[in-house]
C-alpha cells in the first residue's frame, strides 16, 4: 500500500470560518470547581512556608533529603522517616525566558517575561530541584549554576502556599 493511492480523510477549516458562521459549532464554558486537599507532606510544607521556612523529608534508607517533601520514598518504596529543614537558597539548574501565558496568550507589551527555573535547594540532596520563578534579575544575566535566594512575602501576607515565596533572586557578592 502507498498512502498516495488513498483518498485521505480530514477536512481542514479556518478559525475565521467559525467566526463568520460558515461552520456551526456549539460552545461550552464549563464552570467546575475543585478543592485539592494538601495531604500530609505538602500540608506541612505549606505550613512551614507560611513561617518563612522550607522543610524537606528524609529517607533513612537511600538517605535522600527530598523536596517537595513526600511521606513515601518513590525510589525505596517505603515510608520516609524524618522532617529536615533546608535553606532558602539554592542554584539554578535550568531556566527559561517565557513570553507566553499559561493559555498560550502572549504577555502584554512592556510586561516582563516570566522567568521559570528549576532551583536545587541548599540542604536537600543534590539534584533535588523545585519549579519556581526568578526575579530582580535581567533575563540576560541569568546563568545555569547561579546562586539564588528566596524572596518571601511579608509574614502577614503569607497564606501557606508555594507563592509565599515570590521568586528567587541572585545572591550578589
Amino acid at each position: 500500500m502507498e498512502l498516495e493511492k488513498f483518498e485521505l480523510g480530514a477536512t481542514h477549516y479556518k478559525e475565521s470560518d467559525l467566526k463568520e458562521g460558515k461552520l456551526l459549532s456549539l460552545p461550552w464554558t464549563p464552570n467546575l470547581k475543585y478543592a485539592w486537599d494538601n495531604g500530609v507532606a505538602i500540608g506541612r510544607y505549606l505550613a512551614e512556608l507560611k513561617e518563612g521556612r522550607i522543610i524537606a523529608r528524609k529517607c533513612n534508607k537511600c538517605r535522600r533529603i527530598m523536596l517537595p517533601p513526600r511521606m513515601f520514598c518513590e525510589l525505596c518504596w517505603r515510608p520516609t522517616d524524618e522532617w529536615v529543614y533546608v535553606q532558602d537558597t539554592g542554584r539554578v539548574n535550568t531556566f527559561s525566558i517565557c513570553y507566553v501565558n499559561w493559555d498560550a496568550s502572549r504577555i502584554k507589551k512592556g510586561e516582563k517575561p516570566h522567568l521559570p527555573a528549576v532551583i536545587e535547594i541548599d540542604g536537600a540532596s543534590p539534584g533535588m530541584g523545585i519549579l519556581h520563578l526568578l526575579g530582580e534579575v535581567e533575563p540576560e544575566e541569568i546563568k545555569i549554576g547561579m546562586k539564588v535566594r528566596a524572596v518571601w512575602k511579608k509574614p502577614e501576607e503569607r497564606e501557606g502556599a508555594i507563592t509565599d515565596i515570590l521568586y528567587f533572586k541572585p545572591v550578589r557578592r
Binding site: 488513498f6 477549516y13 527559561s96
Partner: protein
Amino acid sequence: MAYQRVAIVGAGITKFVRRAQETGKELAFQAAKMALDSCGLTMKDIECVSLGTAPDAFDGVHMKGEYLSDGSGGWRKPYMRHFVGGGTGVFAPIHGWFHVASGMFDTCLVVCSEKMSSCHPHPQGAFKTIFDHTTEQPLNPTLIWIFALEMNRYMQTYGITKEEIALVSVKNKKNAMDHPSAQLPMEITVEDVLNSEVLAWPVNRLDISPASDGAAAIVLASEHVAKRITDKPVWIDGVGWNLDTAYWATRDLAYPRYVEKAARMAYEMAGIKEPQKEIEIAEPYDPFDYKELHHMEGLLLADRGKAVEMLLDGKTQRDGDRPMCPSGGALGVGNPIAATGLMKVIEIFLQLRGEAGKRQVPGNPRCGLAQAWGDLMQVGTVVVLRR
C-alpha cells in the same frame, strides 16, 4: 516467554490539520476504514479493538474512549482504551500486541484519534493541570516551560547550540513535503527558525510542532493469520515502555533514562545487541526539535551528547546512513497527540515494505523503530519492527 508472533498487516491515516470539520468519531472511522481496506479485511474479521486517545480535556468529553468507540469499530466487540499522554500513539501497537500475543485474539484493530481544536482559545491551556496542583500550578506554568527548561539543560550539559538544534526542524519540515497527510510541510532555513517568535527561550515557534486534528489506525494479526492476509507482514519484534517519577524537577533533565529503559526492554525482546548497527531507520518522537536528538540518545541510537554530530554529518537525513523521522515527524506532518505516535509506526511499516513512495529511504531497511514520549515528560514507549 511463550506468545504468538504479531504482525502489522494494514494501515490507515487521515490528513493532519489544525482544525478538522469532522468529529473525533468521524476521523477515527476514516482512518480505521482505510486500514481495513488497505489489507482487504472487513469489520467482521476484527476480533477486538484497541483505542488510543490523549487527554479528555482537549475535547471537553469525559470518557472519550467510550465516545470514540463507535467510529473506531468497537461496537459489540472486546474494546479497550489506553492513554499515556504523548506516549499513547506508540503505546497503541503495544496495547494491541498484548491482545494478539496473549493468544486471546488473532486480529486486533488499533485506532488513535485526536481532536485538539475543540479547546479554545488554544489546547495548550488544557495542559495546565498536568502540573502538580498545589506546588506548581499556582506559578501559572505553561506546557512550554518544561520543554524550555529541559532544552536549556540539554544544551548547557553538552554545549549544543540553538543553531544546531534548528537543523532538526529544517530537516523534518522538509521531509514532510512528501507526506500526503502533512500539516506543516515547508522548506525553511536555520535562520527562519531562529528568527521565528520567541515563545519561551530557548524555544522559538518553529522549534515546536503544531496542535492538530487527525487519526491513524493499524491492523494487527497473529502469525498464521497474517500470512493469509499479506505476503509483506511487518513484525512487532520488540515492545518496551517505562515511566519516570512525576517529581520531574528532581530528574536529570539532560538525559531521558526512562526512554533508555523502554528501549532496552524492546531491544532485549527483539534480540538487538547493538542498536546503533541494527536499527537502520527510526522515528523518534519530535514534538520539539531538540527532542529528536534527546530521544536518539535515550534510545541508544547515538552516544550521549553526540546525536547532534550525526545530524550535522547528514546521517539522519532521509538519504543518510541512519534516517530519523523520514515521515516529517510531529514537526512536519503535525501532532494530533495519540495519532502522531501511530503515524510514526505506520511510517516504519511502509518504509520496511518499500511502500513509502517519495519518502522511501534507500537501502531496503529490514529493521526499524518508532518511539513516543509524554505524560509529565516521563513516559517512553518503543516498538521495534522487522520485515
